[in-house]
Amino acid sequence: MLSLILGQLRYLARTPGATAASVAATALGTMSVVAVHLLSEDIKAGLDSAGALPIPGYTHVVRGTDLTWDAYFDARDRWREGHVPRVEAMTPLVEGQALVNGRSSRVLGFDMLVAGRFIAPGAFIEDPSTGDSTRMLLGDGVVAAGSLGLAAGETVRAGEVAVDVVAVSADAGNVVFADMPTALRILGRTGPGAILVRDRGGEPAIERWFPGSSAAFDIGTAIELGQGLTAQALDEAEPTRRFALAILFNLGALGALSLFVAAFLIYQASYSNISRRQRERERLAAIGVGPGTLGLLYVAEGALIGFAGAAAGTLLGALLAGYLASMDSFAMNSIAVAKGVLGGVGAGVVGAFLATRRATVMRQSAGPRWVVAALAATLLAAAAMSDTLAAAFALIVASCMLQFAVLMPGVAAVLRRAFTARMGRLNLLARANVRRFALLLGEVDIAASALSIAIAAAIGMGVQIENFRADFYSMLDQRLWRALYIESERPVDVDWLESLPGVTDARSYGRAEALLNGRPVAVTLGTGDVLESRRYGYGAALEGDVLLSEAGALEYGLEVGEGIEVEGARGARRATIAHVFSDYGAPSPRIVGTFTDLAQILDGIAFERTSVLTAGEDTAALQRAIGERYPDAHVRDQSELRALAEKAFDRTFEVAESLNLIALIVAIAGLYNALSALVLRARDDHRLLYAAGVSRVSITALAVQQNLLIGAVAAAAAVPLGLVIAYVLCAEVNPRAFGWSISFGIDVAAVLTPTLLGIVAALLAGLVPTWRGIKALGGAPEHALL
């Protein structure tokens, strides 16, 4: 057995090109999985610190400007007495907006004992004191986020008080951190503003292994704390966070794709290796080595390649994540390592096992293809009958399986048949070449399928990302107008606001609860003019009709044009649904109507928010004026928040594009391996042509044409699959996972870029082995002829 293993190792060493390509592809696949994991964790941590959570690990939040300390302590007592068993931890959070040196900033005050991240070493960019960060905040000082441009030691005006900046943190956004009493003084508040709650179930294990995946599951159930206090799941409380998690989830799928393609590649490489060693197998079999032992040897070889690739890929993944996220330190954790090693070795073992089966047991048989095709058909049938998220993903998986088992071999067979016929117009070399290409396509179908699927995935993700981007910006337009937002418990004088210099428009919004055809619905009230309707994707003013959220339309089975009854505490009114708008994951049904139409039937309208559109960029003077007239109000400049959100999401999109590229590179490595094996087999034809007086350059050109044609077919077959993947992601996966559908449009650049890249990739993949093979034609005379 030892000699067999040694023989195996020698074979790997004697074929360094093929071995290196397999290891490199596994490394690339593993790299993308590990990089995605680390990046997702980083992005999530960023979301937490930029969002409601200066303290990680909390899952729910109670918010309200009227939240009092008594309410918090009552809730805490009920929890400690065991009345709220779901809650594991609870902490108050003081949050609000204040002007810090004339700039609207978010102020967060929290309990130092639970602020773990502030105690962590390296949490600050600049630490002028002893390094004990906690102690720094146990006074009147604040820690300012780096992007505020403040320096440690500076005294700043925050709200109504003067405070010292004791340190600068690495956080993004206009955030100022303080202990709770300081934050309350800055905000001029008495109540905490928010309570953070940690669900005993915590973050599901799947979220730790696949960051972002929780966005696909219904973990957003609220926790009733009693006395009218309800803790909302963070994702529900902050739709933008849920949106970001949705992107992370898709990124995770993309990272896994690279590994999937790597498994294909190892399969193709193993199959080529095993096929090439048929004589060796027969000899071993002749001396009594059983098929089980042989299979074990090849699988062990796959595991070895997988392990080598996983080790390199895990390290590279950490470096890539560091580069893409501009991390200062080398990030790594046990889950990322485990995912990398298990993924790499798993891909190696599975790829080698399947290749061994094909090469030894099912040789020359179309059986496995039909098994895969039958599985895909079953999967499709099952997916069509279900509206679950798993079924939506099954649609994508089944489409990829069909590409591998039916489409690519079918294309190869059709081309083979078509090119067998006479081709009067083509010269003989071209004729031989296209026929050979059709034969080749049949032989490298696994690698060509892998390339095709990688291109398709890149197209699918690219188109989805473009649609996602468009939707994201519409969401920003809807949720984050480039405006000042005033949050106030009492109505704001809109006419006064409009009289202020620089103000182009001011409008207040009301919120109330009502019944829609007898079922609960949230009502947003506004002016209903065209400007406002456009934010919801509707182009006309509301005149007696309403806009309904997508969640409402789905849950209540309503469509545009249908008549509905809106019933409030003071009466009912009929209206028509003018448009269904995307509410970006907000799960509760909502209608948008006008004060004129609905205010008279509703009771308890909360006038919480007023938006102020301005002509200029500098809103500091305006904020000061509003602050003086309404000292209790919170004024937020949405432009800054929007700019931050755009930056964060653009980075995420860049990461997705990088991952697409990695999947393609893995596929190129696969094709390189497959074409290397084929060049060996094409040697006889090339030598014959060389003997017949065809130059090496011409033979190279013929071989390059073949590679180009293989790439073109793989790319052409990838386009429909890519569009199917994009459509399923936009129209099926997203609504099922996150509650809203992404509008589907075909972005030409997103389709063409991976397609052309795939063709060039095939060309490059074939270039080196082709040239090496053809260069050998002019070798020593004792080798040149056949």
Partner: protein, 227 residues
């Protein structure tokens, strides 16, 4: 068909195999000459350098010693080709225009039909007229009714006869055959040899044939024995 005659002269040819710093002579001081219509049999045990000598004559490499010359006369024009001095591109052209190859393992292009395989050298030389005559050679070779077939559907003997038709299709003045019967049974081998001899003499070509077969060597005009 254009009438071409040639004289092949090989003088003092030697070539070494290098293995790291060491080297040994594979061929040394080999010489022979052949007139148009003559057959030269190159004989010797395995590893004696038969194929290497054919490769050198075919322009696949340059000998370290000696010279290889092909004097060609076509349509009243004479051309003296000093094969051992030709550059790579010139050797490619030399093979295309003046040499026909027949290999032990037939080596037809699997993606071309019999007819297309036979016509390939003519197409490479851009010879338009005379294609039908080249194809007519298939009939006396006993494969005239296989023109539309692909090589993988032919027997070994049939493939080798098609290979002969291809080697002669562009009427080369020099035909190099490396063990053309080595992979055939006796009956097919005899048939292939008959065809080859007939056509070489008829076309006034020079045939250099590497063989282990003593019967073939006996029929040759000259024998080059390698050790």
């Amino acid at each position: 068909m254009r009438r071409t005659t040639a004289v092949l002269t090989v003088e003092g040819v030697g070539v070494r195999r290098r293995d790291g710093d060491a080297s040994r002579w594979i061929l040394r001081d080999i010489g022979f000459a052949a007139e148009a219509g003559e057959v030269v049999a190159v004989c010797g045990p395995s590893g004696s350098g038969k194929s290497t000598l054919l490769n050198l004559v075919g322009g696949f490499g340059i000998p370290e010693e000696g010279s290889i010359r092909l004097d060609v006369e076509a349509g009243g024009k004479r051309e003296a080709l000093r094969v051992h001095e030709l550059a790579e591109a010139e050797r490619v052209r030399y093979r295309r225009r003046h040499v026909g190859f027949i290999f032990q393992f037939f080596n037809l292009l699997p993606t071309l039909t019999v007819e297309e395989n036979v016509l390939l050298p003519r197409r490479l030389n851009k010879l338009g007229s005379g294609s039908e005559r080249a194809l007519e050679r298939l009939a006396p070779l006993g494969v005239g009714d296989l023109r539309e077939r692909f090589p993988d559907s032919l027997s070994g003997g049939e493939q080798q006869r098609v290979a002969i038709a291809r080697a002669l299709a562009h009427a080369p003045p020099l035909v190099l055959a490396d063990e053309p019967t080595g992979n055939l049974d006796a009956a097919n081998a005899d048939r292939v040899v008959e065809c080859l001899w007939d056509h070489v003499r008829h076309a006034r070509a020079v045939l250099v044939i590497a063989t282990h077969n003593e019967r073939i060597a006996e029929r040759a005009d000259r024998v080059v024995a390698l050790r």
